[in-house]
Amino acid sequence: MTATLENPATEVGTVPSFEVTLRVRRYSPESEHGEESTWDEFTVTAHGTDRVLDALHKIKWEHDGSLTFRRSCAHGVCGSDAMRINGRNRLACKTLLKDVNPDKPITVEPIKGLPVIKDLVVDMEPFFASYREIMPFLITSGNEPSKERIQSAEQRERFDDTTKCILCAACTSSCPVFWTDGQYFGPAAIVNAHRFIFDSRDDGATQRLEILNDKEGVWRCRTTFNCTEACPRGIEITKAIQEVKRAMIRRAF
């Protein structure tokens, strides 16, 4: 016996639906626009429970299949779909349409400061290059212990906040210092360095502090808090950067 749907799709009507317009920034060097980027408007029907990502899906699946964007898990964990929605960096999969004023057209742009490849897809390589530079892996010295490296709950708590990073680049691409020339390490790299610098099991703090003491390191942070506001995981990024600064000052004096 096969299972039958008790309540057919008529129930969908119970969730209020509305028309929403998305202004999407398009860039496709192979199109007739060439190197120019253009704005495209799409109006779709959405429900109160829909996110910006659902609207983008609807556009791609039903209106214009050439619209290009990244998304993987679609539930705020993989960090693929960071984009500039109504002028602020957010994850499209964590932003409900009803929260970004669907009465007016919602602007959707690629994140700033990284080279755009197509539509909403940017080249993340500069971002990941900075991430690799801070050596985001455990560095130890001495003999390998024969059991686990024990850590107390308090020691774990010290860097708990910065373990939550999903490398979506929302913070780094919201930073006005990063926009200028892309040389600044950026908040994400510093957050991930913080995660190891303050880990009691790690012995590479000196090396990491040395790396971030660079001209393009933590000292370029102007504490504008754009990163903290942009972070979809709610990491206190500016605070983490200040803690790294303080560790450097302690080391120098």
Partner: protein, 151 residues
Amino acid sequence: MAAGTPDLAAPREAYRRKKSTRTNYELYGWVFMRASGVVLLVLIFGHLFVNLMVGDGVHAIDFAFVGGKWTSPFWQVWDLLMLWLAMIHGTNGVRTIINDYAERDTTRLVLKLALYLAFTIVVVAGTLVIFTFSPCPVGADPSLLPSVCFS
């Protein structure tokens, strides 16, 4: 290239930080900005209070007042410190702004050269004035001179 194959762009150069500078230069710069800021608060408000509030206040300021002040080593050091700290603090601040906003290396270089030139001129001229200032110029109207000229 065989006919018909599309023109592919050459692989891009790998992203590279222009050069790494692992000195403590920016660290000391950052600490200096905070420390000099605190000292400057004291120096500037002390300066304003002494010049504008004490005694006759702003009406007392004339050649004799300034000349008299600079005959004292205390005020010489005070004003010298204020000049140097304010100039280094301000220049470093503008240097930071140039680094943040100038996008091309040549723009950055030109702006910074102009900044350092202005810094040098003001600091050298100011220091010279503080140390070589003569409170009693020969042949001046005695009513305009500070009292130290007559003792």
